[in-house]
Symmetry: C2
Subunit: 316 residues, 2 copies
């Protein structure tokens, strides 16, 4: 079966599907940061989304896409991050069971968040093999539908609603910048944004210490991310076979950033905008500021992906 990527219509349907549950997030600006960048920047604040991250959109779309007989046995995933919380809340809202495989060493605060939404947690060793083996076992035992954190059309369509909302409010943006982890957000962003404005430029932002998307675009095939080294813990994953083709077709370039610039950009957002974003969010602003010589547009939309920062371990 040939893979058919999500369409603009899928994203519009996702937006309708999640509307009763997801927040329409605000767009903020900062005259100080505009001055520093020499451009007009618009920040789409998914740190104000339910569970504090855009991941709720995809999870919610996936869960509410299921037919009743599919949903009856619940959903399952492996994740130590925001996707786990997003799926847990989405499942709670649909009143189905949610099984989340998490590594034993996942941050306690993230475990508590997933528990707080009523999901069942299955702990495993902190390797990808152990996570996938545990997930398979859960699937076999429960019959739950597995919902991958990014390599899934329903997830991609859900994440695309960020850009849909953004461009509905700010149709004159000439450029969008999104961070790249597994590629769920940026591929959804591509489909939504190009569907509204075929001339818009989509740029990816990636930590230099986890630059698999940059390498993959260069090589023209998926290069797995091994041993990522970055504070941006939402961006450690490898592109998937459902996200890479969309990114290859639509993303103009990937800008990679240093750890130093991630921290500087993060602090700038905290200080100047008075909002809390996690390191993975700051990568988009870091890309603009570190690559000030790069040709980018003048009215730039940046997606701030989430706000689940550890207040006891700030990087400054």
């Amino acid at each position: 079966m040939t893979y058919s990527p999500p369409t603009f219509l899928d994203i519009q349907k996702a937006a309708e599907r999640i509307a009763p549950f997801a927040n329409i997030t605000p767009v903020l600006t900062s005259s100080t940061i505009n001055k520093m960048a020499g451009k007009k920047l618009y920040f789409k604040c998914e740190n104000f989304q339910k569970v504090g991250a855009f991941k709720f959109r995809g999870a919610c779309n996936a869960v509410f896409s299921l037919k009743d007989n599919e949903a009856a046995k619940g959903v399952a995933t492996h994740s130590s991050g925001n996707h786990a919380a997003g799926l847990a809340l989405a499942g709670k809202l649909r009143e189905i069971s949610v099984h989340v495989v998490m590594p034993r060493n996942a941050p306690k605060v993230k475990i508590e968040a997933v528990k707080g939404y009523g999901a069942k947690i299955i702990f495993c060793e902190p390797t990808l093999e152990a996570r996938e083996a545990s997930l398979n076992q859960v699937k076999n035992e429960t019959g739950a539908v597995v919902i991958h954190s990014y390599n899934d059309e329903r997830i991609i369509a859900g994440q695309g609603t960020v850009a849909l909302e953004f461009l509905q409010e700010y149709p004159d943006l000439d450029t969008l910048i999104a961070p790249v982890g597994g590629g769920g957000l940026i591929s959804g962003t591509c489909v939504a944004a190009k569907g509204i404005n075929p001339n818009i430029t989509i740029i990816g932002a990636e930590p230099r210490g986890a630059d698999d998307a940059f390498q993959s675009l260069k090589k023209g095939e998926i290069i797995p991310q091994t041993n990522p080294q970055t504070i941006a813990d939402g961006l450690l994953t490898t592109l998937g076979d459902k996200t890479f083709p969309i990114i290859r077709e639509h993303v103009e370039k990937i800008l990679t950033v240093s750890e130093e610039w991630i921290v500087r950009a993060m602090r700038l957002i905290w200080e100047r905008m008075n909002i809390i974003v996690e390191p993975s969010s700051a990568v988009v602003l870091a890309a603009l500021l570190e690559h000030s010589e790069e040709h980018v547009g003048n009215h730039i939309g940046l997606i701030l992906t989430g706000g689940n920062a550890d207040l006891d371990n700030l990087p400054w």
Copy 2:
């Protein structure tokens, strides 16, 4: 001459006057915090106001209230906090000179902020006497109009626009809670809120270590604040003769809070709402949570006054 406090009409005029310059700030909610409080809470986010605090409203109203011949010689104040920044920006917008007397030991970040808006800073010893003497000298030398940080009808009217905006968006709030420092915000809040809804309840929130408003209401006269001890550095001042009568007439009660609860409430707002507020802002939520036995309404508006927290010295 009898003192005539600002009227509801003054606040409406102030709102028109500052509209070209001030932000209409968002109102945020948190289902987690609602659950903890057992009530519906609405947070008016003045941390997203210009200069990061509601103080810009009063300063802007005062500066743009001046006739051209009054404004020509500039404005002056003494302040080590957000009023200084607010007045500096308002003066810059009107293109008049601004003189700010600051104690030598004011935090560097606040000095830089005031400088950044182009105000002239006059340093003095860190005592109230030295500040007033320096301000008098500036006034005599320059002819600048002195604009006190709270004991001024124009300031009170400007701060009242917070509640005006809040109740225009959420007319069904039955209670408003504002922090009390010198009383500029809460007295403006009283005039605005009672003008819209005479039955609304206004509650003040104050650190127990700087409880001059609580003591003053109890005694029926202004009790000066001596030796305040609190992390809420925006709430150290004593009520003024223009704010106290309004507070005495309209404020139902003052709830005082411990330092521990201020820090807990501040962290809760950071973690659950993903916004940055300074300690003085957190006092309103601390009051609700620490006094859970107190009778208050069910749809409560809380004014978060500012977001200028020191990211290098967090209280946890």
